[in-house]
């Protein structure tokens, strides 16, 4: 690649114009197809455009000309990350570190990959290395803070984030970490300040927006405690999370086997209350947020849909309870089924897009079953006529709840 073309392409990358840089690099490669540096620049331009597969090919081409070039190894790792191949990305980065152990950028990107693969302890070691090698780099400090946060080391994470901000007060990631620190401590003011600043600096940061929504909800002390529980639970190993889910049933069973109902029933009530609270907290708080201007602006469309489903089913359940109390207690079955379903539907925004459709379909089906059930009750149908739709209603609602829990 001619020197002027190299400069031009690099300046264009710096100017945030990867498409133009790609064009320069490709044209130059036509003249000199064996220029490894040009392939490297092309790979960078493609990474910046999010074109992972092509970037991988260009980076590999660059490495064919210089297999030990750490810049090309780094860009290969970034390209592989884009394609989701984190294992090969990690190998490329480790190769780069073997070539140049004092390259802070390589250590930092290794930390990023390790964080993506849930290896936060290793990630914090790599980020710490990057921090030591580049003590004036705010991004390295912020990455270290992030890794510490994922380990649950809140105080250390805060310290590292503040160090990043001392170097660059406009480091959005460091502000984001301070928001997470606030959430973990149940300090909604600190969380709000952190996420608001992170969003001011990068308004396209979706996770900061979600953090802001959580921080707004966490202004309510009960929700703050529910959230702390979830955040604590999320940091547990997978097996421990399953154990936590199953433990109440095992304990309940154990208590029942000794026939101690005086203990079992109050405990069961408390447990069910807590379950309902954890399920209902999110959609209830979303509905509350939607009553405020800021809430309406920051709550995502998906969360609105979930909250609307929750609100709609609860409203019908309450109506059925009132009518049932006044006219026919058989309608309580609709109340019960809709409440159970609402708890799941209210959290449907935590599901991948495709799986939500199952819940939406279940919502339509349950409404139809409830209409049939109500018609049978109004028509004076007997026990045998009511039992099938009632069972379908209850089992369908319970199945939906479990589906949401397991698919989240």
């Amino acid at each position: 690649m001619s020197e002027s073309a190299i400069d031009r392409a690099e300046l264009l990358l710096e100017a945030g114009r990867p498409e133009d840089a790609e064009c320069e690099a490709r044209a130059s490669l036509l003249a000199q197809p064996d220029d490894g540096h040009a392939h490297g620049i092309l790979a960078r331009a493609l990474v910046m455009q999010g074109r992972g597969e092509e970037a991988v090919a260009a980076a590999r081409e660059a490495l064919e000309h210089d297999p030990e070039d750490e810049a090309s190894l780094l860009v290969l790792a970034l390209a592989l990350s884009l394609t989701g191949d984190l294992q090969d990305a990690e190998s490329a980065i480790r190769h780069g570190i073997a070539v140049d152990p004092e390259n802070a950028a390589l250590h930092q990107w290794l930390a990023e990959i390790l964080m993506q693969t849930d290896r936060s302890a290793e990630a914090s070691r790599s980020a710490s290395e990057a921090r030591a090698l580049a003590p004036h780099d705010p991004d390295a400090a912020a990455a270290y803070a992030h890794a510490l946060m994922l380990q649950g080391r809140t105080d250390d994470a805060e310290h590292a984030a503040r160090e990043a901000l001392a170097i660059d007060p406009e480091n959005d990631r460091a502000h984001h970490i301070l928001g997470l620190v606030g959430l973990n401590r149940g300090d909604s003011d600190e969380a709000l300040a952190g996420f608001r600043e992170a969003l001011r600096l990068d308004p396209t940061d979706e996770s900061a927006r979600e953090g802001l929504v959580l921080a707004l909800k966490a202004r309510h002390p009960v929700y703050a405690q529910v959230l702390r529980f979830f955040l604590w639970q999320a940091r547990l190993p997978r097996q421990a999370q399953w154990a936590l889910l199953i433990a109440p049933f095992v304990i309940g069973r154990a208590i029942r086997t000794v026939h101690n109902d005086a203990i079992f029933f109050p405990l069961a009530l408390v447990f069910i209350g807590l379950i309902v609270l954890t399920w209902a907290a999110d959609p209830v708080m979303t509905l509350a947020l939607l009553a405020t201007r800021e809430g309406r602006l920051v709550v995502s469309r998906d969360s609105r849909v979930a909250a609307a489903l929750f609100g709609g089913f609860i409203a019908v359940a309450v109506a059925a309870a009132i009518v049932g109390a006044a006219y026919d207690p058989h309608l309580f079955i609709v109340t019960f089924g809709f409440v159970v379903f609402a708890l799941g539907a209210g959290n449907v925004d935590g599901l991948p897009q495709k799986r939500r459709k199952v819940v939406y379909a279940a919502a339509v089906a349950l409404v139809l079953v409830a209409v049939v059930q109500t018609a049978i009750i109004v028509a004076g149908g007997g026990y045998h006529a009511q039992v099938v739709p009632a069972v379908v209603l209850i089992l369908g609602a319970a199945a939906s709840l479990w589906y949401v829990r397991l698919a989240s």
């Binding site: 400069d7 031009r8 710096e14 100017a15 945030g16 130059s28 969003l199 001011r200």
Partner: protein, 444 residues
């Protein structure tokens, strides 16, 4: 060259695909026959099979013929660097740089090419170089006051006197009114503005989704006040004067000052005036600093120079650019409104066979479409109609339903931009920069 010869060459190549000289011969023949696209394919193939500099030059020529000037330039520049005595490369480079508006360099290259190989002499090119003509339409030198050197300097700039005015810009009444107050009236009624201590000048930053007419309205602004219009973008600054970007930016401003009254339009200003916080590279930072110096007119007053800038990413523009005296007015150019969409559709359908088309109805159905989106809809409808016409063997006129059919597979490309802008408007709306975006979103 007739088809039979080409077919024979292709047949021979099919039998020995690795015959590089034969492939180059085919490519050259195609290029000579004006089939540059096919020539490009063959030259590329030849290069992948190990062809030498002859194929590189041929490919560059094919690019040039196809109007891919950047690709042609990069390719032939590298060739000329490696082989300074390659006469063909020097000649092609002369054509490219002339097209770029650098007649001096073009003259130099052409002279060298002819010195190396007298048979390359091209009377047309020589005449163009002698007259100092560039291919782009330029303002005649006599339009400027000053000495000949100045006129010559202006000659190298892509300057023009636009004939369009605000009457040619459909809709966008608020935007036009804002620009009138800031730029047009201070020029047409200087006494009134002087009485209030307002001198003409200053800058306006136009921002909005791509393809919505920012450049068009900037050009119309120049036409409105009969001013010269000079457009500059990062490509010109970086590509044409590599290593001297700041100097070149300065010279562009100087030319605008000499050509006053002049509208200097800085396209994609987020590249030249990127946030210095995000720019770590020395040269880019220097370029931003130079831009600030020029806007302030520290060394030479910018009197009579109206600076309009456009960007799709106002959030990437350095905050310092928005300080008073620089781009102190920020104007949102939204996707065209209904009236503007009617005008755009009318423009694109002009000179095409049409029957009674209900433009208002199509405009109502294309909310959020950019000008470029509307052009694509018309294109798609025309393609479908062409197919029908070929089957029917008679030219059929475009009808409303053709456009409606084309609309079925069309989506406004402004949606993604609007989503990003919404995020900035919600979370980073210091000093109300994005109030117009919020107002637009609320109106939708």
């Amino acid at each position: 060259m007739d088809e039979a010869t080409l077919a024979t060459l292709r047949e021979a190549l099919a039998l020995s695909p690795d015959n590089v000289p034969l492939r180059e011969h085919l490519a050259a023949t195609l290029l000579e026959a004006g089939r540059a696209g096919e020539a490009e394919t063959e030259y590329r193939e030849a290069l992948t099979r190990g062809a030498g500099t002859g194929a590189q030059l041929g490919l560059a020529r094919a690019f040039f013929a196809l109007g891919k000037l950047r690709e042609a330039g990069v390719l032939v520049e590298a060739l000329a660097e490696n082989e300074p005595n390659n006469a063909g490369a020097q000649l092609l480079l002369a054509r490219i740089v002339l097209n770029d508006g650098r007649p001096d360099e073009a003259r130099e290259r052409y002279t060298r090419a002819v010195q190396l190989d007298a048979s390359l002499s091209d009377p047309d090119l020589a005449a163009a170089l002698a007259a100092g003509e560039a291919k782009r339409e330029r303002v005649p030198a006599h339009a400027y006051a000053g000495d000949e050197d100045e006129a010559d300097a202006v000659e190298t700039v892509a300057a023009e006197r636009p004939r369009i005015t605000f009457d040619d810009v459909g809709g966008m009444d608020e935007v036009k009114e804002e620009i009138r107050m800031k730029i047009v009236h201070p020029f047409t009624q200087p006494e009134l503005f002087a009485a209030y201590g307002k001198a003409p000048g200053g800058g306006i930053l136009l921002y909005g989704p791509p393809g919505c007419g920012k450049t068009h309205i900037a050009r119309a602004t120049a036409g409105e006040i009969s001013a010269t219009f000079i457009a500059v973008g990062i490509d010109e600054v970086l590509s044409m004067w590599m290593g001297e970007s700041e100097q070149q930016l300065h010279e562009t401003f100087e030319r605008a000052r000499r050509a006053a009254p002049c509208v200097l339009f800085v396209d994609e200003v987020d590249a030249i005036g990127a946030k210095r916080h995000d720019v770590r590279h020395g040269p880019m930072r220097q370029l931003v600093n130079q831009f600030l110096v020029e806007l302030d007119g520290i060394k030479t007053a910018n009197e009579g120079v109206l600076i309009l800038a456009a960007t799709n990413a106002p959030w990437a523009v350095d905050d310092a650019l928005r300080r008073p005296g620089r781009f102190d007015r920020v104007v949102f150019i939204p996707p065209p409104d209904e009236q503007a969409r009617v005008a755009i559709l009318h423009l694109h359908l002009a000179e095409r066979p049409t029957s009674e088309i209900d433009l208002e109805s199509i405009a109502r159905k294309t909310k959020g479409f950019s000008g470029a989106d509307l052009a694509a809809v018309v294109d798609r409808a025309v393609e479908a109609k062409l197919r029908d016409s070929m089957q029917a063997r008679v030219p059929l006129p475009l009808e409303t339903r053709d456009l409606e059919a084309a609309l079925k597979s069309a989506r406004p490309t402004t949606a993604e931009w609007m989503q990003t802008a919404r995020s900035y408007a919600l979370h980073a709306n210091e000093a109300g920069t994005y109030d117009d975006v919020l107002a637009y979103l609320e109106r939708r």
